[in-house]
Symmetry: D2
C-alpha cells in the first residue's frame, strides 16, 4: 500500500502541471467565493482568471472581495487581478455565476470565442440546445452539445452547459430515482430556503429576523419548469419535458445555508414505502462510477430519525454534495411525502457546476489551451 | 356623541360589577400568560383563580411565573395564589391550557362539577360530543352541548368546549369561506410554525438557530383530523366530518410568534380567482354580527403585495385575531394555492378560547355563581 | 370625573383644529416610518408634508415606502405625495431623519427659511450653538437657541435642535441622575445594538445571522463625544463639556429593536448601591412635570430580576420611551456597573425628536403659520 | 520527502497501537460530543469508555446521545455502552465535562483511584493544588501536580488538571502576551457568548430569538477569579494570583458557537500600539514548540479589518484552537481596547482539555495501563 501511495503521489504531481485553467465570472459574489473555495486544491482545475462587475475591475481580488465564507481566502487568488467578464480571459474554461441579466450576453460571447462555459446562471437554462445538467440524473443530456456544435452557434470547443436553480437541484435529485422506477405523475414542492441563496448583501436582516418571506422572485416558476426539463427524455436534437405536473411554493427562512423542500409526489403506479426508501438509498449513477472528484459516495442519504433532515446538521453531508431525505410517509392527497435538504451554494450552485465540469472533463469535452 | 359616551361609561361600570369570574388552568405557561394578558380589562371576564403544576402550587403568581410576554404582568394577578388544577376553584368558568396528558382528567373533573370548561388543550377535541369551535366557522356545532347535557356526563352547567390546534385554526378559518361556496375536495398544507407554539422552555435555541425542524409531535395528524371535524356538518347529536382529503407537513422555524401555512386546495367545481379573493375578503360571521369583544372586524385580511403575509408584520393584525392571506394563485397540481398566517398564541390559542367564551356568554351558556 | 372627561374631550377637539403641521425629511426610512407611526394620533402635530430622496420624489407615500413596521401604514399619509427635502414644504416645522451627508445642507436651508428643524441626524449635533437635547436631561441647553437667533444664522422662527445618537440617549439618560448627584468621573460603555439602528436594507442577513459585528461606523466616537456635551454645563452662549472620560465599544447583534448598553461608571465620591438605585428610580424631570404627551411616567425603570433588561421584553416599556436598568452591582475596576436598555427607533430616534418638539411647543418655540 | 513520508507513516502505525485509552465523563452533553468528535482520529488517544447520567446508563451511545454537531457521530463510539461516571472505567485517563455539582465527587473518586482526570468542569478549578491550565500560558503551573502527589490526596498516577471557563480562556489567552511584556494592572471584559456554552437543551429559543440575555449564572465571578489564577505566579506549592483588577459583564447572544469578548486593559507602563499588536502576533509558546497535535500554529491571530473578529467567520480559525483579536485601539478610560474571539466548545472546552492532555502526555504524566 505504501508503494501505491508513492505512485499515487507522483501521478498527482504530474497531473498538477496539466491542470485545466479556470476563469470565474462573477468571482466576488457568494457563489463565486464558493467556486474559489471548492477549487482550492482541486486535482483537475486551477483558478487563473477572475472577472466581476466594474466595481471590482482592476483591483486585486483580496481588495475587491469581501470574503464571507468560513476560513481564509485561498492564498493563490488573493493577488489575482479582477477583470471585467469580457473576452479574452487567460483560461481553458469559465465557470459563471453572473446575474441572469448580464450572463445572457457574456456567456454567449465566451462560448462563441471557443470557451467551454459551465454556468450556474439562469440565462440559458431553458434554451433548447443547452443541457440543464445534474450528472447523476441526466448525463445523457450532454448529447445536446452536438446540437450546439452542429448549429455552429459557437466556435470550435465553445459550448454552454448549465446547472439548475439551487432548489430545483435538491428536488430533481430526490425525484430522479423515483421517476426512473415508478414514473412521477405530479409533484408538489414547498421550499424553506436559506438566505445565502439570495447572494450578498441579499436579504436584509430586518426582513428575515423573527420572520419568514413567502416570496422569492421567479423561484416558483424556475422549479416548476426546470424540473420537467431535467427529468425529460433525450430525443434527437432536443429534450422532451417530463410529463409531470409540478407545483412550487417558495419561502425564505432565517437559515444561513441549506434549502429544505417539503415534497408530495404521485406515481403512475402503486408503490410500497420500502420500495421508495430503497430507491433513494441505492441510488448512484455515472459520477459515482467515474469516481469524479466532487461526486459524493451517496448522492441521497436517507435518515430515519423523526426530526431530520435539518439544515444546520445535514447540509454538509458528503461535503455538501449529498442531499438528505427524511420523513418519508404516505400522503392522503398525493401518494407519498418526504422532506429533502441540500446545501444550496455547494450542491445547489458552485459544487453543481464543478461536478458538471468534472463530468465534461471525463468525457473529453475539455482540453488545455496552453 | 358626548352624551352617548357618558352613558356608555356608566353601562361599563355596571357591567364590571357583574363580570364573570374566570379560572385559568395552566396559568404559568405561554398560553396561560396570554390568557391573563388578553383578559386584563376584558369587559365580561375577570381572572379570579389560577392553577398550575405542583411546582407553582401555593406561590404567588408573580413568584411562580416567569413572564415571557412584552409588557408587565398585570397587577391584579400578581398577588393571586396559584392552586393545583383541582376542584374547587373560585370562579364561574375555567379556561384550560393544560398539557394534553393532564387535561383529560382535570377538565372532565371540572365539567362534572358544573364548571364550563373552555379548553385549548387537545385532550377532548376529537370527542364526539365536544364542539371543536371556531365561532366564525362552525358556531352551530355548539348544539353538541345539548348532547353533553342529555348524556348527563356533566353536572348542571358543566360542559367542555375546545378550540383547535394553533395551525389548524389558521387553515380552517382560511378554508371556511371557500368550503362554504366552492366545496373543498382536497387540501395540502405545509406549515412554518413559530417557536412560541411549543411553550416554554419548549424549543432549544441550539435546535432552531440557523436551522429548521421538520417535525412537530402529532401536529400533522391534528391538522388533518381537526380540519375535517371543524368543517363538518352538524347532524342530530354528532358531527359528520367534511369529506375533504387533508395532507399536512409541519416545520418549526425561527420565528417568535405567527404560524404560516402554505396551502393548495382543490374544489368540487371550477372557480375563478376573483371569486376566491372575494370569498376571503367578504367573509364575516356570527362573532362580527354579535360584535363579540375579541372578534376582529375582518376575520380574513387579503394582502396583494408579492411578499406578504409575513409573520412579524402581519401576526398582530386585528389584535392578533385576524388571519392574513396572500399569494393567491392558480396551482398546476391542485386548483389554487395561497399562504395564510395567524398569531398562534392569540388567534391560535388564548384568543381563540376567549372568543369561544364570548360566544358562549352571548348565547347564554355562562352564568355567574356569585 | 365624567364632567371633566367631557370638558377634556371638547378641549381636545378644539386643539385638533390647531395642530401644528409637520413635515418629515427622510420619510421613507425606518426612522421616518416611526415618525409617521408615532405622530398618527398625536394631540399637537399632524403630518402634512413628506420628503425623501429622488427615488421617491413625486410618488404617493404608499407607493414610495416599503412599510416595515408592525401594523398598517396610517391612512392619512398614504396619499401624501413625496417631495424632495427642499424648500418650501407645506408645514410649520420639520422633523429630519436624513442621512448625515444630506442633512447638513438641507437642515440649514430649512432653518434659514424660518422652519424649526427638529433633527435626528448627526450633521449638526456637535455644533457649538445647537442643542443636543434630551428633555429629561438638559432642557436648559435650549438657551442655545438664543445664540442661534443672535447670530442671525437663521431667519425669524428658524432654528435647529438635535437629539443624540440612538445608543448615546440610552447611556446619557441612565447617567443623568447619577452625574447630577454623584458626579461621574469616567464611564465605560459596551453596546449590543439592534439591526433596526442601521436602517433599511441596512445590515445584510448574511452578516448577522449566527453572528455578531464588532463594528458600527462612527458609533464609538459619537457616544464618547455626545455624552460629554449632553451632560455638559450651560455657560453663556455655549456648553462646557462634562469632564467625563468616556469609552465606548459597539457591537451589532441579531435583535430587531432595542439597544443594550453594559456600563461601568466611576464617581467623584463614594456612593452606596442603594443611593444609586434610588437615583435611577426617583428620576423624573421637566417633561414629566409638563406632562408632555410622549414623556413616560418613569424615564428610568429599574428591574431587579437577575436576567433583565432584555431587548424583546423591555424595549416597549413606557411605549418605548422609558429605558430599563438592571444588574446594578459594584465593579472591581470602576465603582459600579449596570445594564441599560432602550428602544432605539423610539426613545433613541423618532420618539426622542417628538419629545423634543413637545418641549419646544410647551416652551413657545413653535407656532402655526396657517 | 517521499521517503520521510513513508517513515512518518510507519511511525504513525506503531504509535496507533499504543494510543492511550480515554474515558469521557459527561459523554452525551455538547462538550462530551465535542470530545468525541475531536478525538476521532487523534494520534495519541482513543475513546474506549463513555459515562453519563443515569438517563443514559446501559444504552448504546448511538441510542443515548442526540448528536447535535455537524457531521455524523463517529462510527467507533456508536456501539460503546454508556456507563455511570463511577469507578472503574476501562481507560488510562478520563476527560470530564460533568456538571459542577456532580463533578466534585466523581472527579475526586477517579483521581483517588489512580486515573489522571483532565477536567472541563468548574468543580476543582480554584483549588489551591489544582492547575488551571492553558498550555500556552501557564504550563509551569503543572508543578502543582507534585503538590497533589505529596499530599497523597490521590493514588499513584491519579491527579486532576482543569481548564478554565470558556470565556476565561479567550480572555486569558489574549492577555497572556500582554501581561508578560507590559504587566496588566486592570482589565474590563464584556462578553457576548454563544448559546452552545449553555449546553443542550440549554438556552430556550424563546429567550434568545430577537433578544439578548444579560446574565449567565456565575460567569462573571468565574472570569474575574480564574483570570487572576491563570496569570498568577508559581510559588513553592501554590499559585500567587496575579495582581490584576478584573471586571466582567456577561451576555448571551443569538450565536451558535463563538464567544466574543470586548476588552479594555490598563498596563503598568506606557505601551505603543505597535508593541501591543506585535505581542499578540508573535506569541507562541511551549505547545507550538512541542508541536502538540491540537496546538494551533498561531494561538492568537490578529485581524486588521474594521469589522473582525466575527463569530461565524473566525471561530474555526486554527481548527477552532486559535483565538482572533481585532479592533485594537487606544481607550480613553483604560489604556487600550480590543475584541477577542474564540470557539467556546473547542478552544474554550473540549479542545482545551485535549491540549492539556497532550501536554501532560508530552511531559510524561500519562501512561498506558494495558
Amino acid at each position: 500500500m505504501l508503494v501505491t501511495e508513492v505512485r499515487e503521489k507522483i501521478k498527482r504531481t504530474e497531473r498538477d502541471n496539466w491542470k485545466l485553467r479556470v476563469g470565474i465570472l462573477g468571482a466576488t459574489g457568494t457563489v463565486g467565493q464558493r467556486f474559489i473555495q471548492l477549487l482550492e486544491d482541486h486535482p483537475e482545475f486551477e483558478v487563473t482568471a477572475l472577472a466581476a462587475s466594474d466595481r471590482s475591475e482592476g483591483k486585486l481580488y483580496k481588495d475587491a472581495c469581501a470574503w464571507r465564507l468560513n476560513g481564509e481566502m485561498p492564498e493563490r487568488v488573493k493577488s489575482l487581478r479582477v477583470a471585467l467578464p469580457q473576452l479574452p480571459l487567460d483560461c481553458d474554461l469559465v465557470f459563471s455565476s453572473l446575474p441572469a441579466d448580464v450572463a445572457g450576453v457574456a456567456e454567449d460571447d465566451f462560448a462563441c470565442a471557443g470557451y467551454p462555459v459551465i454556468s450556474n446562471s439562469s440565462a440559458h437554462r431553458m434554451k433548447e440546445d443547452v443541457p440543464l445538467l445534474i450528472p447523476e440524473v441526466n448525463h445523457d443530456h450532454l448529447a445536446l452539445l452536438d446540437v450546439q456544435r452542429k448549429q455552429a452557434r459557437y466556435d470550435s470547443g465553445g459550448f454552454i452547459v448549465t446547472n439548475p436553480n439551487c432548489s430545483t437541484i435538491v428536488l430533481a435529485l430526490a425525484l430522479a430515482p423515483l421517476h426512473e422506477r415508478f414514473t412521477v405523475v405530479s409533484v408538489i414542492a414547498t421550499t424553506l430556503q436559506a438566505i445565502s441563496g439570495a447572494g450578498y448583501p441579499g436579504v436584509a436582516s430586518l426582513d428575515i429576523t423573527d420572520n419568514v418571506l413567502p416570496f422569492i422572485q421567479n423561484e416558483e416558476e424556475k422549479i416548476e419548469q426546470e424540473t420537467r426539463k431535467i427529468l425529460g427524455n433525450l430525443k434527437p436534437g432536443r429534450i422532451d419535458d417530463a410529463q409531470i405536473l409540478t407545483s412550487a411554493q417558495c419561502h425564505r427562512v432565517n437559515v444561513v445555508d441549506g434549502h429544505l423542500v417539503a415534497v408530495r409526489v404521485k406515481f403512475a403506479r402503486s408503490v410500497q414505502v420500502e420500495e421508495l426508501r430503497e430507491a433513494f438509498e441505492s441510488f448512484t449513477s455515472l459520477p459515482q462510477e467515474l469516481r469524479l472528484h466532487s461526486a459524493p459516495d451517496r448522492p441521497i442519504i436517507v435518515r430515519d430519525e423523526l426530526d431530520r433532515p435539518q439544515p444546520r446538521l445535514d447540509r454538509d453531508a458528503g461535503n455538501g454534495m449529498s442531499i438528505t431525505v427524511g420523513r418519508i410517509a404516505t400522503d392522503r392527497v398525493l401518494d407519498y411525502r418526504f422532506v429533502a435538504l441540500g446545501h444550496n451554494t455547494i450542491r445547489g450552485a458552485a459544487g453543481a457546476a464543478i461536478l458538471n465540469a468534472e463530468l465534461l472533463a471525463a468525457r473529453g469535452y475539455l482540453s488545455s489551451h496552453r
